[in-house]
C-alpha cells in the first residue's frame, strides 16, 4: 500500500513540474493520471510512460515537452530535489503549451534553476537545436505602451471597418419571418399552440459569419516601424468573436495566435516580444511562406479564410521559390491581400524582384503605413467581391 501512495505522490509532483514548465495540467488530470497508472500497472516502464502520456498530453506540440520532463524526472532523483525547491509557492502566470519550441525552452528554464550543476551530477542532454540558432539575429524588442492616439485610432478602426466584414453564409439557420425556407419544427410547435390550426408557417434563413482571417506579418529590420502597429491591429481583431490566426516571420515563422488571446494588449504584445526570437533581423520570405504552406496552411485556411500579408517584399531568397509558394498560398486562401508600407511613396514602382514575384498572386495590394491605411483595409474587406475563387489546391 505504501508503494502505491509513493507512486501517487510522484505522479502529483510530476504533474506540478509539467505545469510549472507550461503544460496545462489541471487537478482533474492529476487524479486521472493516478487512475490510469492503477489500471496499467507499473511493471513495464513503457506502459507507465504511455499511460501518463495518454492522460496528460492533449496536443502533439506537448509530447516533446512531456517526453523530456518524463525522462528527467523519473531518472534523476537529485534533479528532483532541486525541482522541489523550485516548487515553492511562486506566482504562476497563465501559459499554455502552444508552440513546441517555446515550451521546451520553458522546461529548460524551469529545470535550469539558479545554481550551476555540480561536476559529479549526471549531465542532462536536452536537444536545444530547435530552440536556438546561432546564425540568426536574435534580438528582443520592447514594446512601448500604446499611445492614446493609437488607441483612439484603433477604436475607430474597429467601429468603422471591421463590423462590415463581408460575411459568409453558413449551413446553420436562424428564424426569419421573411426567410425562404420553412422551419418545420417551429411550425409544428406553433400549430400545437393553436390546437392544430396552421395559422402561420415559420420560416428560417441561413446564418452568416465573418470570414476567418489569417494575418502574416513581416517583422524583419526593414519593417520595424510597422510591425508593432500591425500587432496592435492583430490583437484588436483577435479579441473579437471572429476566428483569427496570426503569424510573424523574419528568418522563421512563428504562430503567435495563442499569445494574442491575452486580453490586455500590452501584456499580449510583451509576451509576443519575448517569445519571438527573430525581431529586426533579415527576411526569408520564401522559406517562411513555405513553412506556412506546409505546416499551417491546411490547419488554418479551412472555411474560406482571408489571408493578409504585411511585408515590404524586399526579399533575399530566390525569386522562383517565392513564386511557387505564393501560387500555393493563393490557391488555398479565399482572398489574398498584401499590405505594403512602401506604397505610401507616390512614385513607388514594384521593381524589387521579391515584389515582382509576389504581385501577380495577390487579390489586393494596399498601403499600410499607419492606422488610417488599416481603416481603409477594413473597407476593402467589407466591400471586396465575394466570388469565392475555389481552385483545387
Amino acid at each position: 500500500m505504501r508503494e502505491t501512495s509513493r507512486i501517487a505522490d510522484n505522479i502529483l509532483l510530476f504533474c506540478r513540474t509539467l505545469r510549472q514548465a507550461g503544460l496545462p495540467v489541471g487537478p482533474g488530470q492529476v487524479i486521472e493520471a493516478s487512475q490510469a497508472i492503477l489500471k496499467t500497472g507499473i511493471e513495464r516502464r513503457d506502459d507507465f510512460y504511455f499511460g501518463l502520456r495518454a492522460v496528460l498530453v492533449k496536443d502533439p506540440g506537448q509530447s516533446r515537452l512531456f517526453d523530456q520532463a518524463f525522462h528527467v524526472y523519473f531518472r534523476n532523483p537529485r534533479l528532483l530535489e532541486r525541482m522541489m525547491g523550485l516548487l515553492l509557492p511562486t506566482l504562476v502566470t497563465e501559459e499554455d503549451g502552444g508552440g513546441g519550441d517555446a515550451t521546451v525552452r520553458r522546461l529548460l528554464e524551469t529545470l535550469a534553476g539558479e545554481e550551476e550543476p555540480r561536476g559529479d551530477e549526471v549531465v542532462i542532454e536536452v536537444d536545444r537545436s530547435g530552440s536556438y540558432s546561432r546564425s540568426e539575429v536574435l534580438r528582443d524588442k520592447d514594446f512601448e505602451q500604446m499611445s492614446l492616439e493609437e488607441q483612439a485610432a484603433a477604436k475607430v478602426l474597429l467601429r468603422n471597418g471591421l463590423d462590415m466584414l463581408q460575411e459568409i453564409p453558413t449551413r446553420r439557420f436562424r428564424p426569419d419571418r421573411r426567410g425562404r425556407r420553412y422551419d418545420l419544427r417551429r411550425s409544428m410547435q406553433l400549430m400545437l399552440r393553436t390546437n392544430g390550426q396552421l395559422v402561420e408557417v415559420a420560416r428560417k434563413t441561413r446564418r452568416c459569419r465573418p470570414p476567418a482571417l489569417v494575418l502574416i506579418a513581416d517583422i524583419s529590420g526593414s519593417m520595424s516601424g510597422y510591425s508593432r502597429m500591425f500587432l496592435h491591429f492583430a490583437h484588436a481583431l483577435s479579441s473579437r468573436q471572429q476566428r483569427v490566426h496570426s503569424f510573424v516571420f523574419g528568418t522563421r515563422l512563428t504562430n503567435i495566435t495563442r499569445w494574442l488571446a491575452e486580453r490586455d494588449v500590452d501584456r499580449a504584445l510583451a509576451h509576443v516580444a519575448s517569445e519571438v526570437r527573430d525581431w529586426d533581423g533579415g527576411t526569408r520570405i520564401a522559406d517562411c511562406l513555405e513553412r506556412f504552406n506546409m505546416d499551417w496552411g491546411r490547419r488554418v485556411l479551412s472555411g474560406r479564410a482571408v489571408v493578409i500579408v504585411l511585408s515590404d517584399g524586399l526579399e533575399k531568397d530566390s525569386r522562383a521559390r517565392l513564386e511557387v509558394q505564393m501560387q500555393r498560398l493563393r490557391r488555398t486562401a479565399d482572398r489574398l491581400i498584401w499590405l505594403n508600407p512602401l506604397l505610401r511613396f507616390d512614385d513607388f514602382e514594384p521593381l524589387a524582384s521579391g515584389i515582382k514575384a509576389m504581385l501577380p498572386y495577390v487579390d489586393r495590394f494596399l498601403p499600410a503605413h499607419n492606422i488610417n491605411s488599416l481603416v481603409d483595409l477594413g473597407g476593402v474587406l467589407s466591400t471586396g467581391p465575394s466570388t469565392a475563387r475555389r481552385h483545387a489546391a
Partner: protein, 301 residues
C-alpha cells in the same frame, strides 16, 4: 456479428485484441485504447490523413463484437442530422387523423413521443444494444464547426442528450467513443480535455511491412520490402502531402494488378498517382527524383 466480448484485461491483451483485428499497433496505441476502454473516456485520435485512425474504431467494433455507429462530420452538422429529428409529415398526419376522430385535444400529449422520433447516430449510440455498448465513431471532427463541438461536450461528459419535448435520454452503459481529426482546424481545448489523446504517427518500417503483408497478401516479399523502403524515403522528402498507409496499400494493390515483380523507374512513374495526390508533389518526384531514390535503395540492398 461475433459474440460480444469483454474488455481486455491489461495492455498486452489490448495489443492482442488489435492484432486479432489485423491492426498492427505499437504499445503506445494499445495503452491508450486500454485506458479509454477502462476509464470510459472518449478517445481522440489525430494524425495525417490515411494513417488508419478510422480503422481503429472499425477494428474495435469488430473484435469486441459491438455495433459500430458512425457519424461523419461536415460543416453545419446540426442536431437534426447528428442526434434526432421529429418526423413532421407523420405528426401532421396524426393531427389530421385525431381531428377526424374528434380527439384533437389529446393529440398534443402523444405527438412528441418515441413514435415520432427519428434517431440519428448520437441518439442511437445512447440506446441499449443487444451486443453491449456500441462503438461510436465521430469521424473527422475538424470538419464540423465550433457550435457542434460545444454540443458534443455535454454528450461526452455525461453521455446524455436532452430532447426538450421528450426529456433527457441517458445511456445505461456509455458507448465506446472514438473521435478522429485530420487537423484541418484545431479541436477546441475543452473537447481535448474530456478525451484521451493520441497522435497516430506514420508506422515504422517494420510495422508497415507487417501491415502490407496482412492487407495485400498477393504481394511478393522482395517487392514489398522495396515498396515500403521507397515510401519511407518519400516521407522524408519535403512533400505537401506525405503518403499515408492507405496510399501504401493502394500502391501495393496497383502494383499487383500490373503484375510488377520489382520497382523500376518506369513502374514508379506510371503508378505515382496512387501514392501522391498533389500535382506539385508528383512533378517533383516523377522522373529523375524517383530514379535517384530507387538507386539509393538498390545500393543499400
Amino acid at each position: 456479428m461475433a459474440e460480444a466480448k469483454s474488455l481486455p484485461e491489461d495492455v498486452s491483451a489490448a495489443e492482442q485484441l488489435l492484432a486479432e483485428g489485423d491492426y498492427v499497433a505499437g504499445r503506445d496505441l494499445a495503452t491508450v485504447i486500454f485506458l479509454a476502454l477502462h476509464m470510459g473516456r472518449p478517445l481522440l485520435l489525430e494524425g495525417e490523413a490515411g494513417v488508419g485512425k478510422t480503422e481503429i474504431a472499425k477494428v474495435l467494433a469488430a473484435t469486441l463484437g459491438r455495433d459500430l455507429i458512425r457519424l461523419q462530420c461536415f460543416e453545419g452538422l446540426d442536431l437534426a442530422s447528428a442526434a434526432y429529428e421529429w418526423n413532421y409529415p407523420q405528426q401532421m398526419v396524426a393531427i389530421r387523423l385525431a381531428e377526424a376522430e374528434g380527439s384533437g385535444s389529446k393529440i398534443s400529449d402523444s405527438l412528441y413521443s418515441g413514435d415520432f422520433l427519428i434517431e440519428r447516430p448520437l441518439l442511437k449510440a445512447l440506446q441499449p444494444h443487444a451486443s453491449g455498448p456500441p462503438v461510436l465513431l465521430i469521424d473527422e471532427i475538424d470538419r464540423a464547426d465550433e457550435p457542434f463541438e460545444a454540443f458534443l461536450l455535454e454528450l461526452l461528459s455525461d453521455f446524455q442528450l436532452t430532447i426538450p419535448e421528450l426529456g433527457t435520454v441517458s445511456a445505461d452503459e456509455p458507448p465506446i467513443v472514438v473521435i478522429t481529426s485530420n487537423r484541418t482546424r484545431e479541436v477546441h481545448d475543452a473537447l481535448r480535455r474530456r478525451c484521451l489523446y493520441h497522435w497516430v504517427d506514420f508506422p515504422t518500417l517494420e510495422s508497415e511491412m507487417k501491415i502490407l503483408a496482412l492487407k495485400v497478401p498477393g504481394l511478393g516479399e522482395e517487392l514489398r520490402d522495396k515498396l515500403v523502403t521507397f515510401i519511407h524515403k518519400l516521407r522524408d522528402e519535403d512533400l505537401f502531402k506525405q503518403p499515408g498507409v492507405a496510399e501504401s496499400i493502394d500502391w501495393a494493390h496497383a502494383l499487383t494488378q500490373l503484375d510488377a515483380v520489382t520497382l523500376t523507374p518506369d513502374v514508379v512513374d506510371d503508378t505515382l498517382g496512387s501514392l501522391l495526390k498533389y500535382q506539385d508533389d508528383i512533378a517533383r518526384i516523377r522522373g529523375s527524383e524517383a530514379a535517384r531514390l530507387l538507386a539509393e535503395i538498390q545500393a543499400a540492398a
